[in-house]
């Protein structure tokens, strides 16, 4: 292929660069919602305390066959402490009649609002992670180490390991970072509609406690830390190497431009 053909082919290969805008959420705006969400939840729980005290009639007695309604009350109380739900009228007849979740009632709108704010907060955290990624890739290794420690800690402990947004984003995938993590909450709410027995309460409670410990928590780790560690460590080291190389060459160029280097186009 001749030189001219190469040149013309290269000229036809690319069009002129166009401007590509990229919409990003304001990091500060989203980051400000995250602390506000926890405060709003605490305020709602305090407001509902008064309602709980009025409606509370029976003490929860786990495992007692005659206090099924009391167990339900205790469950409702625990949820109301954690979720901004209003008091639910109990059906004390043949069996519990739970309204389907597909048609949200006014009482559950607070839950959806909380889920929405959690979803938005996820975006804020992922945005922060994205900004931290721009400075380097140290977090690549650090988050994997944390995930490994977390998994070891969870294996030693009782609860499931919590999933952090940084852990999610280190996964070598092209998934969008700001996906909603409503699955744990939805899973928990759907469990409410299933058959509730007194013997299932301790296990469900521990799972719920783990879920409500963090909105990003999940029972399953994203990936194998050992495998991702081995993949990302050389990449991180290589990137640091490239950064240092860029700095040194930049200094060399500056020195050349200032005339410190003994380089001249036509030597004397």
């Amino acid at each position: 292929m001749g030189e001219e053909q190469l040149c013309s082919a290269s000229g036809e290969r690319w069009a002129l660069l166009g401007s590509a805008g990229q919409n990003r959420l304001s990091a500060r705006q989203m980051a400000s919602r995250w602390p506000a969400m926890g405060a709003s939840m605490r305020r709602r729980s305090l407001q509902n305390q008064g309602q709980l005290e009025e409606s509370e009639a029976l003490q929860p007695a786990l495992g007692h066959p005659d206090t099924s309604s009391g167990a339900l009350d205790s469950l409702c109380r625990q949820f109301q402490r954690r979720l901004p739900l209003r008091a639910v009228s109990l059906n004390l007849r043949a069996g519990p009649s739970w309204k389907p979740l597909e048609t949200p009632q006014p009482g559950q709108q607070g839950l959806q609002a909380a889920a929405r704010s959690a979803k938005n907060a996820l975006g804020a955290v992922s945005q922060r992670i994205q900004e931290s990624c721009q400075s380097g890739t140290k977090w690549l290794v650090e988050t994997q180490v944390k995930a490994r420690r977390r998994k070891r800690g969870s294996q030693k402990g009782s609860g499931p390991p919590a999933r952090s947004p940084s852990h999610r984003s280190t996964r070598l995938s092209v998934a969008a970072p700001a996906r909603s993590s409503l699955d744990p909450r939805e899973r928990v709410n759907r469990r409410l509609s299933t058959k509730m027995g007194p013997h299932a309460h301790p296990r469900r409670r521990s799972r719920r406690e783990a879920a409500f410990r963090s909105p990003y928590s999940s029972a399953e780790p994203l990936c194998s830390p050992s495998e991702s560690d081995s993949d990302l460590e050389p990449v991180g080291a290589g990137i640091q190497h490239l950064q240092k190389l860029s700095q040194e060459l930049d200094e060399a160029i500056i020195a050349e431009e200032s005339g410190d280097m003994t380089v001249s186009l036509i030597h004397d």
Binding site: C133, P234, L242, I253
Partner: protein, 274 residues
């Protein structure tokens, strides 16, 4: 165009087997930078000189053009990028003298690099070798789409530059050309490197098709690193060049270890696509 500028252009491209005279080049720089006069006539004179059968005249014309692109005002390279035809020397061969056989291949590669340099300016609308460097530089702050396009352009230009690397420098004319190539190589590689760093930072947030393209660019970058080290080795031989030892050593160390880095890095990024 002033008579002094035309005289300087003709004097810089004589058939004397020596590099273009510094005073003639300075006069041309003064004409381009100091005045607002059109550079079209100057470019036409130099373009006509590349049509000569003598390798000395052709080589000196190319060196003069390259010198004006590097040291002159941006409007000169802007004019070259807007021309419909560039240097057509893909089959140049000077059979009149023995040295013509050894110099002609380099002249062909050198002219191709100058064509790519002009084309890159046309595609990117700027001279990337003169763009701002550093953390807040042009290549570090580009978005994904522009970055992928820019890296492809830089990749092609850098490849042409590395291909124009002379294996040995035997006379003053090729030495002058090599010095200009060396100057370009440093700046172009820094821009290339910063673009790759930006690319790696954005990799995990790209779409799948962008990731594939990024991976290809990254693998190409690794291959060009090896050739760049060879280019620097040629530069080290020249006693008049005092390269910062750190940069060269860093290149050498990186090149010697980049086999492991490239394998692990490319494998890690590839696994992310699956």
């Amino acid at each position: 165009m002033g008579s002094s500028a035309s005289k300087a252009a003709l004097s810089a491209t004589t058939d004397e087997p020596s590099e273009p005279g510094p005073k003639h080049l300075a006069a041309l720089i003064q004409y381009i930078n100091g005045t607002n006069r059109s550079v079209e006539r100057l470019a036409d004179i130099l373009y006509e000189k590349t049509g000569s059968s003598s390798w000395v005249v052709v080589f000196k014309a190319l060196i003069t053009v390259h010198h004006l692109m590097v040291h002159g005002n941006e409007r000169f390279i802007q004019h070259l990028a807007s021309r419909s035809s560039l240097f057509i020397l893909y089959n140049f061969l000077d059979k009149s003298v023995t040295e013509g056989y050894t110099m002609s291949p380099f002249i062909r590669r050198y002219s191709r690099y100058l064509n790519e340099k002009s084309l890159a300016y046309r595609l990117m609308a700027c001279d990337i070798s003169k763009a701002k460097r550093g953390t807040n530089g042009v290549m570090r702050t580009m978005n994904s789409r522009e970055l992928l396009n820019a890296l492809l352009v830089i990749q092609t230009q850098f490849t042409a530059l590395l291909n124009a690397n002379p294996d040995e420098i035997t006379n003053g004319i090729i030495y002058a050309a090599f010095m200009l190539l060396f100057k370009d190589a440093l700046r172009l590689f820094v821009a290339y490197n910063e673009g790759i760093l930006n690319l790696l930072g954005k990799y995990f947030y790209m779409r799948k098709n962008q990731c594939k393209e990024s991976l290809d660019i990254y693998i190409s970058f690794l291959g060009r690193m090896t050739k760049f080290v060879q280019f620097l080795k040629v530069a080290e031989v020249q006693k008049s060049i005092c390269i910062r030892a750190g940069a060269t050593r860093r290149c050498g160390v990186w090149a010697s270890h980049h086999g492991g880095f490239s394998c692990c890095g490319a494998q890690a990024l590839t696994r992310g696509l699956q």
